[in-house]
Amino acid sequence: MDGIHDFGGMEGFGPPAVEIDEPVFHHDWERRAFGITMASFVLGVSNGGQFRHSIERMDAEHYLGSRYYEHWLTGVATRLVETGRVTIEELEAGAGGGFPLSRPVASAGVTVPEPGTDVTVGDEVRVRRITTRGHTRCPRYVRGRRGTVVRIDPPSSLPDLEAHGDARRSEPIATVRFDGRELWGEGAERAAVHVDLWLSYLERVT
């Protein structure tokens, strides 16, 4: 989905706020939200794709205006409701007020790319224009862009499928090197940007 979470290249943000000697957690609630989420994985509440998508489905303004572990809390609570373990009524009663959850998975337009072709290190590739309204790990800023494969990682479960049902497809992951100017135009800084992309996100440039 083209959500607010897909920050790569987005403008309108200032300098990062760096805190000297920053603690691991800033508030006790962050400790508990972290621990609850970690426990939820052990209990099988979500796989990685499901959990990430539960955060991506947060209201964009809520996402942008809240701290990181509030994202986790919102995602895990959403998954707990969606899997029938708790109800929103129970959550609101306990909180003594509103308990904003993420929005439902899109009812249409959740698509999975066709399997891609095999690639090897050195190949020129172009990233497909993924347009799913569901979960994907293909960032918007590389879609349609050309790059060179520099590494192949072992097969792993395609998130686009994993987040939305029982079907699985295991595919190698290619690390693709993009020239900064290919991504951001001639005025861009000189830099190489590497993105790890499942084969289904790629097509070979012939």
Binding site: H5, D6, F7, G8, G9, M10, E11, F13, G14, P15, P16, A17, V18, E19, E22, V24, H26, D28, W29, R31, R32, A33, F34, G35, I36, M38, A39, V42, R52, Y68, E70, L73, V76, A77, L80, R85, V86, L91, A93, G94, A95, G96, G97, F99, R137, P139, Y141, D153, S156, I173, W184, A188, E189, R190, A191, A192, V193, H194, D196, L197
Partner: protein, 197 residues
């Protein structure tokens, strides 16, 4: 971590109320225990942190064979020192040189090599860092106090899939006399992310 997390303080913010409500509800239903949560918190607040990564780096600085193994198979070489686990199952180590500077980001969420660096700092998870690291890494690094000469090549690694990245910084000049343990103290978290040299 306080022990009274299941008591309800009088004035809680909405997010505190929500977290508290969820924990109590899950405990009441027998889905989790407070102790399970305590244990995860303790592990990542007390046990696992950038000192692990610093030990890996110092070893690589002092043992050329280890450095070679680390760059060839990060996961296995890091496991030699006893580090591994969630967010560290597929470790890639990228080496800084006089000519190359590496920078790690996760634009889509905040993937980070937990076993060697612990949990990420706020700025790593923030919109400014995630948006700008892939678009204007040099300007971003300069703002963060890391000025790179023009001739140094910048390589950004967006942790968008399973690999987690650790930067192997350059050993500082003038440290030939230092042993591995002394070198550990010189390795910063920021250098292992790539926002410092």
């Amino acid at each position: 971590m306080s022990d009274d997390h299941h008591h309800h303080p009088r004035t809680q913010s909405p997010i505190e109320q929500r977290v508290h409500a969820l924990e109590e509800l899950l405990v009441d239903k027998g889905i989790v225990t407070h102790e399970m949560i305590d244990e995860f918190v303790a592990r990542y607040e007390d046990d696992i942190g950038p000192l692990n990564g610093a030990r890996v780096v110092a070893r690589a600085w002092t043992d050329p064979d280890y450095r070679d193994r680390l760059l060839a198979d990060g996961t296995a070489a890091i496991a030699e020192l006893g580090y591994g686990g969630p967010e560290g199952d597929h470790m890639i180590v990228v080496e800084n040189t006089d000519e190359v500077h590496n920078l790690v980001v996760c634009t889509l969420c905040s993937c980070y090599p937990w076993p060697v660096l612990g949990l990420p700092p706020d700025w790593y998870k923030s919109a400014p860092y995630r948006s700008r690291a892939v678009r204007e890494p040099r300007a971003l690094l300069a703002e963060m106090g890391c000025d790179l000469p023009d001739e140094v090549e910048v390589r950004v690694w967006d942790s968008s899939a399973e690999a987690r990245y650790l930067v192997l910084p350059q050993r500082p000049a003038g440290t030939d006399a230092l042993g591995e343990d002394e070198l550990v103290a010189l390795v910063t978290r920021d250098a292992m992310i790539g926002v410092a040299r």
